[in-house]
């Protein structure tokens, strides 16, 4: 309790705080064995005094840097790694940092199975600019299965302000084989006018849903539910 109070008054990195806590326990133990007292304030002075003395001598450790890594490792990776340091890439099952790599990864530049951030790449990814192997949501979203975003580019399904897909697109301006558009649509260059179908939203949405179900039940059962949910 005493050590925690002292450390809470010092602006230094997390690792130094841990170090201090451990050493304050040692200081107390040492003083206690000599002075035959267990009162920390009697032994080392008030928490403020000790904190001030330490602060005065910890100039180079003064920092708001955070770099926390879990001791628990799974497949060689720490359970979590959280850092705000520019020179360190957070790597862990859960990784949070300016640059991050993890199963769940959060960062300005993040890569992972599920990644969140400004510029992201992953199997499922969410970000301002987001590229995914499966699902992607973002300002600019690119994914083979489903992309949802201001600009969405996908192979199967794109939903967004500008939605471009090979199969199905839904949004303001659309471009794909099957489209539900609000403002306008573009027929893909590789298709004849007769091969592309465009429905205006919301008037012909039921027709669009019907056609979309046909496409996804034939080829992409795994995303069938996703499109139906998205359209709801």
């Amino acid at each position: 309790m005493y050590a925690r109070k002292v450390v809470s008054k010092i602006d230094c990195s997390y690792s130094v705080k841990l170090r201090l806590k451990e050493d304050i326990a040692i200081m107390l133990e040492e003083r206690s064995s000599i002075n035959n007292s267990k009162d920390p304030i009697f032994l080392l002075g008030s928490t403020t005094n000790l904190a001030n003395e330490l602060k005065e001598n910890l100039d180079e450790y003064k920092s708001s840097d955070i770099d926390i890594k879990s001791n628990i490792r799974i497949f060689g990776l720490p359970l979590f790694h959280i850092t705000n340091r520019k020179d360190i890439t957070a790597k862990g099952i859960i990784a949070i940092g300016l640059k991050s790599i993890g199963v769940i990864s959060v960062g300005c530049f993040s890569t992972g199975f599920i990644s969140f951030g400004a510029i992201t790449a992953g199997v499922i990814s969410f970000g301002s600019i987001s590229i995914a192997l499966l699902y992607s949501i973002g300002g600019i979203a690119i994914a083979p299965a489903i992309a949802i975003g201001g600009i969405a580019i996908a192979k199967s399904l794109a939903i967004g302000g500008l939605a471009v897909a090979k199969e199905v697109s839904f949004g303001g301006i659309t471009c794909s084989k099957l489209m539900a558009y609000k403002d306008s649509f573009i027929i893909p260059g590789n298709l004849d006018e007769g091969s592309a179908v465009a429905y205006q939203y919301p008037t012909f949405i039921d027709d669009f849903k019907r056609d979309a179900r046909v496409i996804f039940s034939q080829n992409y059962n795994f995303i069938k539910l996703s499109i139906i949910n998205a359209l709801r």
Partner: protein, 112 residues
């Protein structure tokens, strides 16, 4: 004058701490006591000043610590510090610098 003494002590403390650990492995409180006795009471420092020095020396690789169980009612083992090879080299360099520095300062101060 107080500030002058304080700065002077602060500057020289690192070399003294390193030298004491070089002579013999010591734990924190023991080091404080040794500093006090060997300096005839000139260097009266508290843990709050000592441990940051230990961190700096440890982080630079000049010293390292090991834990040693002590008989009695202690719940935490003692943390002993020892000088590394790098620390020994650094101590030699610092000692030479200090000799040169103190010679020159003494010479200038004694000039009439």
């Amino acid at each position: 004058m107080d500030t002058f003494n304080k700065q002077l002590k602060k500057g020289i403390l690192e070399i003294l701490v390193l030298k004491i650990i070089y002579n013999e492995d010591v734990y924190g409180y023991e080091l404080i006591k040794k500093l006090e006795s060997e300096s005839n009471g000139l260097f009266l420092i508290k843990e709050g000043s000592l441990y940051p020095i230990m961190y700096r020396l440890e982080d630079k690789g000049f010293i390292e610590h090991y834990r040693k169980e002590v008989e009695g009612k202690r719940t935490v083992p003692r943390k002993y510090y020892k000088v590394t090879v790098l620390g020994k080299e650094h101590l030699n360099i610092m000692t030479r610098s200090w000799d040169q520095f103190s010679d020159i300062v003494s010479k200038i101060l004694k000039e009439e």
